[in-house]
């Protein structure tokens, strides 16, 4: 499939998943039923899964439009966009640190479990999602008074987001069928 079409479809699917399914999942981990709520965010995975050699400015523009779209759906006015931009900006550096060869050598490939292995991929997505969650929840609370709940919120949301990222990867990676 054409790589542009593929990524466009992924953009739509991820927005639909995030807005219509994951946003309706509100969890209260570690707190009473009336306590703070968490929301899993998986939409930054669109930025994480773009091809290796995507230039940074394209990543930034795509990250901004992705964030603003999610913001429009959730009435959060630029908070998601700000967090996603950071992910888009740092993605290339994190990949450079994690990958054994130069990024330009991976032609027409995208970061995936297949060519990275589970551990590097989880480190890559976990680190960038952690940054995303820290930035988003800090901007959202906009104060240092509730520092404990903020950390709890970041931690619990990150764990749930990572679970959903793994589920997404397992669902949308083409499996090689092995017959005995």
């Amino acid at each position: 499939m054409n790589i542009y079409l593929k990524n466009f479809l992924r953009f739509c699917i991820i927005i639909l998943l995030q807005v219509f399914i994951l946003n309706n999942i509100t969890l209260h981990w570690f707190t009473s039923p009336a306590g703070a709520l968490f929301n899993p965010f998986i939409y930054p995975i669109f930025i994480l899964l773009l091809p290796f050699e995507t230039p940074v400015w394209v990543l930034l523009v795509l990250g901004f439009s992705l964030g603003v779209t999610v913001d429009a759906f959730m009435t959060t006015a630029g908070m998601h966009a700000a967090a996603t931009l950071l992910v888009a900006y740092l993605r290339t550096n994190v990949l450079n640190a994690l990958m054994p060869r130069n990024l330009s050598e991976y032609i027409n490939q995208q970061p995936s479990v297949k060519n990275m292995g589970w551990t590097p991929f989880l480190v890559y997505s976990g680190f960038l999602l952690l940054l995303h969650h820290i930035v988003f929840f800090s901007i959202e609370s906009w104060s240092i008074s509730g520092f404990g709940p903020l950390l709890l919120k970041i931690g619990a949301s990150l764990v749930t987001s990572m679970l959903f990222v793994i589920v997404y990867i397992l669902l949308f990676t083409r499996q090689t069928v092995t017959r005995a």
Partner: protein
Amino acid sequence: MRNFILIIRRFFNLILFVGLEIVCFILIAHSRTLQGDDLVSSANTAIGIAYQKQTDLVYYINLGKMNDTLLSENVRLRKLVDRYTTLDTLRDTMVHKALTNTDTTVHIVKYADYRYRTAKVINNSVDGINNYITIDRGAKQGITKGMAVISSTGLVGRVEYVSANFASILSILSNKQQVSAKLKDGTFKSTVWDNEHPDVFMMKDMPPELKIKRGDSVFTTPYGNTFPADVLIGRVAKVELNKKNGKQQLYLTPATNFRNLQYVYVIENLMSEERKQLEELPAKK
């Protein structure tokens, strides 16, 4: 000049990153002000239509629950009607006398005149710092900014943004708005707001001599111009003594179940404009 262009080319990514972040923060700062309009919000027509489609899909799943709440509301309203049927004629004459202004005795007349509109909730959030609810009515159906919104069980919020066919409501689960509130006995008024836990309201600095029990109801007051009086806000869940200043803190659970909100009533206060004009007179002097 050449060096300048070289620097721009070298740091183009960083400049683009910082520039876009600045755009984001301008958007955020815009929405932080009380009257600020979001440039991107869920009252947007395209997004409203998307949410409407989703609601159409999952609408039938919650019909049973909705039916129950409507039934219980009917029972409550029926009780109210029973109470007023005997008094009806008396109340009419009272209103009539005060308006003709022929005698000097003081009559208390209820001036506020409300118009109710139903609306279907098509998007809902409970886990943010400021939570918004999108409904499928907008300016074309007579919704304007600042109208109060209640559900069949209690207070919901006020209309914040309006487009042609959709509106977004800032729910009372929000740092931005405080509600003037009173306890069941009507003696004390204070504001209600959200703390870190989205499903809990707080009433701070209540005098320690006040006797408050768990389960006491808290209602809106007529002092604010937005909300009609005597709408149930919530019930007291916990009473705590603040050791720093010796005053009581109340924790309330909201009367409205924000997690499965289906229908809301948008209330138009027909006297609101007149009252606003009057109350702004001293400020202009």
